[in-house]
Symmetry: C2
Subunit: 212 residues, 2 copies
Amino acid sequence: MEPREISQAVIGRLPRYLRYLGDLKDEGIERISSQELSKLMKVTASQIRQDFNNFGGFGQQGYGYNVEHLYEEISNILGLDQKHQLIIIGAGNLGQALANYMNFERRGFIIKGLFDNNPALHGKTIRGISVQPMDQMEEFMKTNNIDIAVLTIPKTSAVEIAEKLVQYGIKAILNFAHVDLNVPAGIQVENVHLSDSLMKLSYNLSCYNKEQ
Amino acid sequence: MEPREISQAVIGRLPRYLRYLGDLKDEGIERISSQELSKLMKVTASQIRQDFNNFGGFGQQGYGYNVEHLYEEISNILGLDQKHQLIIIGAGNLGQALANYMNFERRGFIIKGLFDNNPALHGKTIRGISVQPMDQMEEFMKTNNIDIAVLTIPKTSAVEIAEKLVQYGIKAILNFAHVDLNVPAGIQVENVHLSDSLMKLSYNLSCYNKEQ
């Protein structure tokens, strides 16, 4: 398929489709209509058809979608047919939690290295991956063909480390640091700001309370 | 201020405004124009003014915004003038990482309890908070006035636990389990699906590569 401009909103919805299709596949279901999928996922059937039309529609609507085929197609669109090599910068609690998180590997995101400034952590291993000093990052990235870095370091050092990662050839950053990174065009960044999610809950809680 | 219908997209942007205003406050900056804020945050000044107009505009544009005042206003809108009592369900790596995450407390989100099914974890303490068996959750929620639960348990048990939490009177759930929760209207849910963020990166990486 030729690359074309797909909105990030549509892309953002693809992982959820993939999750539901994976569950259907595991349950042995072979075909599903957009109406059934709509009921299951609580989005309109027209939204589903519009989303899928961005990628050519994925087959005849009259017969419903072939679950396995659709799963494979969306998986390929998301680039999950290729493996990605990751490093995690920051081997504190969150970094260690992510290193232990098996779901990443199942999707082809292979954690190859862990880096931290804290000498007390050097040599510690998590799932066989040993924590290394930061100054070995450049060499490690080159020999291990690393394309994604996960940042779980404080905001004070995140901007500087991101600049180094770019210099060393990183292509994408999953950023947990509570700061916006300043990277050149072409470098992909996804932010996960955990406090922001709590604040949204807090807003909606206080609105809900006011209406009581 | 009377509650009115504000889009979740606007609400979702408020924590980022708050973060930048907090940094400006820390730097001792007293006033900022929407143009300066626009440059700093890399969003248009018109977007900023539109967002703020949802809440009455926050003061005279000619003189710029009073940083401290704006910080307080947004903080109050987000309900951060009230404290929230949290429990974390699942004291595995991620649950422990979140229990150790000090940023939550700074924003008024107080972690009161940790719960896990695994007897090996019972009695273990993280920042003074001890891990308790799941069957003590109901009693604990009542005596500690818990309004938010953070779910860091596998998807297989998340749906069932969420139902129990609702039954015990929870008002909001921050869900890290890789499944959609089915809760009644009025219960707030925010999902943090970490694999989804990696998949978005993967998509954008593969698109970028195709264009080379």
